[in-house]
Symmetry: C2
Subunit: 356 residues, 2 copies
């Protein structure tokens, strides 16, 4: 079969540990399904700042560009938190999104049965929660002009939020299509009673809606959405929103499932290209100790198989293996009720590999 | 004693019903405590659009300006939702905040014992939750320049988020002072890893912090705050943040208490001037049926007594009366477990008046 090229970015903190387990899974699927993958490692984030003086070296970008997909562990840590902007891991993250044209961030928030009790929400409220936040990732206030200047009342700072019709259209279309493959419900979140960009957003959504008659559409104001996610999480299917609102709401949604350590995400560009990463961060406090949970990264790889390569069988096999290992009671310490019985990062990876 | 002038804005939906009950309470405190209030009613919101062709008539502003404080019911409703911007209730709300210089919105989120079960959070997580969101209310992306224009990729919309040092300083000082009178903890919420306005915000917070050495300060990124509110709500005391983030986080915080129908809010300007209103909205679906819960509005009046007039005794008496009536088991239908035993808006008001 075809050779698929995957750029692998281990990153900082627990990144290298969890990515190593996903790579074992990758290897196992090659053997089992006859795929051929070519992986190339690239420096990114804090480690790239340390070794190369920039969070996003040019050759990292080149490696990503020549690949079919990117697997990312996690970036960042306190070590770089007080650096000037150009020398911060987040700057690399924003840079890679823009450079690779990853305009859409998909963050599925599902409840893992074995983790139901880990949520701070009541189980009966959580029951049936399975939603997907589709976040616009390369526009809005994240990428608009920023400046400092002297104003009438002392120094002032400015951020600019800009959206054009084309940017809104492509993300909204994608959200309608995703909803069409799920439960046919789309909540478009904006602040149209205050923001001009939200009014444009809503106009585009309303203009496209008739092309997706099977999808039930609701407009939800962002403040109300923050409330409804708490009140009726299971009533949401797909939520589509702009960059800044998506940052806040996708984290709220992930946290309410109680499964944040297990959630995968995809950042997609035009065509089938995508960057896949766990929702959790680099957790510098537990790095290097074999305590990290590799499941979110392994599930991110499964998502890559499904969304970029169309390897549905392998994706499903990985997901089934994860479920099997969890059902058998194996837990890393982050999700273990009895921490003394917790297994290590590599043990979890090995068990999943064996179960595929 | 001095005559205090209160501008009373009933507004739309259930606004007139809940405000009427608060006015009964006002009257009763005059009798009991020897205060003298002069109230003047003013048109605002949807009803002002209908009767006067503008959500915020000039004479309403004049009435508010000549008063010592404003009591507001609620504004808005589907009837006006598709109006052009100048003819929408929200435009009046933004206009009155700016015109009266109400730069600070205080939203206490507390758990009412009798409503603990109404929250979707587990009771043990909620235990001890008592926080206050201090939201900047007259700056940021709400009030920056907005525009539509033709760009390279079709029509585009722009919102501008601006903050100057003076604006940040006054709200942050107020938050430090409020924290000093509570549990001495302040969480300043921003997105300093992305936004220039947040970096300015954080600089100001860090510059002022040494003046409040007894207050323990933490900086929390907005996405993380949306998560931590869910994970550890009781660990927050005072949260201070800019306008847009405050809109989202204060609603999330209110909803997680399960007591949203009972929460009061204050919008303060320079000096002791303030506008007081319930956190809940105009609930047009139940308007005019005697179903509304007047408690949040009555507690907003108590907040006015405390914060604008310094009538601590009367404020405490009203709060105690509310607690007594609830302890005796009386419930309006929104908070009743057994809806068939629910009492009406006026019955609830009468019971509270009798209990003062
Ligand atoms: C690190 C930060 C810049 C980033 C964002 O805000 O997009 C992160 O919160 C995320 O959601 O991926
Ligand atoms: C109605 C709307 C403009 C308003 C706001 O966003 O400030 C409301 O949500 C609020 O919080 O008072």
């Amino acid at each position: 079969s075809e050779v698929k090229k995957i750029a692998v970015i281990a990153g900082d903190g627990i990144g290298p540990e969890v990515v190593a387990e996903a790579e074992k899974v990758l290897k196992r699927t090659e053997e089992l399904f006859g795929y051929t993958f070519e992986t190339e490692h690239a420096l990114f984030g804090g480690i790239a700042i340390d070794e190369r003086g920039t969070p996003l070296p040019e050759d990292t970008l080149a490696i990503c560009r020549s690949a079919d997909a990117v697997l990312l562990g996690a970036v960042g840590g306190p070590k770089w938190d007080n650096n000037p902007k150009e020398l911060r891991p987040e700057t690399g993250l924003l840079g890679i999104r823009k450079a690779l044209g990853l305009f859409s961030n998909l963050r599925p928030a599902v409840v893992f049965d074995c983790l139901k009790d880990a949520s701070t929400l009541k189980p009966e409220v959580l029951e049936g929660t399975d939603l997907m936040v589709v976040r616009e990732l390369t526009g809005g206030i994240y990428f608009g002009e920023k400046l400092r200047r002297q104003g009438e009342h002392g120094e002032e700072a400015v951020d600019t939020c800009v959206y054009n019709v084309t940017e809104v259209e492509r993300i909204v279309r994608q959200a309608f299509e995703i909803a069409g493959k799920r439960r046919n419900k789309l909540a478009s979140v904006d602040k149209a009673n205050v923001l001009e960009t939200s009014r444009l957003w809503r106009e585009v959504v309303n203009r496209l809606a008739p092309e997706y008659p099977q999808v039930e559409l609701e407009h939800v104001l962002v403040d109300n959405c923050a409330m409804q996610l708490l009140r009726r999480p299971s009533s949401f299917d797909v939520i589509v929103t702009e960059n800044m609102f998506g940052d806040i709401l996708s984290d709220e949604a992930a946290m309410l499932t109680g499964s944040i350590g297990m959630l995968a995400s995809a950042s997609l560009g035009e065509g089938s290209y995508g960057l896949y990463e766990p929702v959790h961060g680099s957790a510098p406090d537990i790095a290097g100790q074999g305590l990290a949970n590799p499941i979110a990264t392994i599930l991110s790889l499964a998502l890559m198989f499904r969304m970029t390569f169309g390897y549905e069988n392998a994706a499903a096999a990985i997901e089934a293996a994860v479920a099997e290992v969890l059902d058998a009671g194996h837990r890393t310490s982050d999700i273990a009720v009895d921490k003394s019985k917790a297994i290590s990062t590599t043990e979890m990876g090995d068990l999943i590999v064996a179960a595929i």
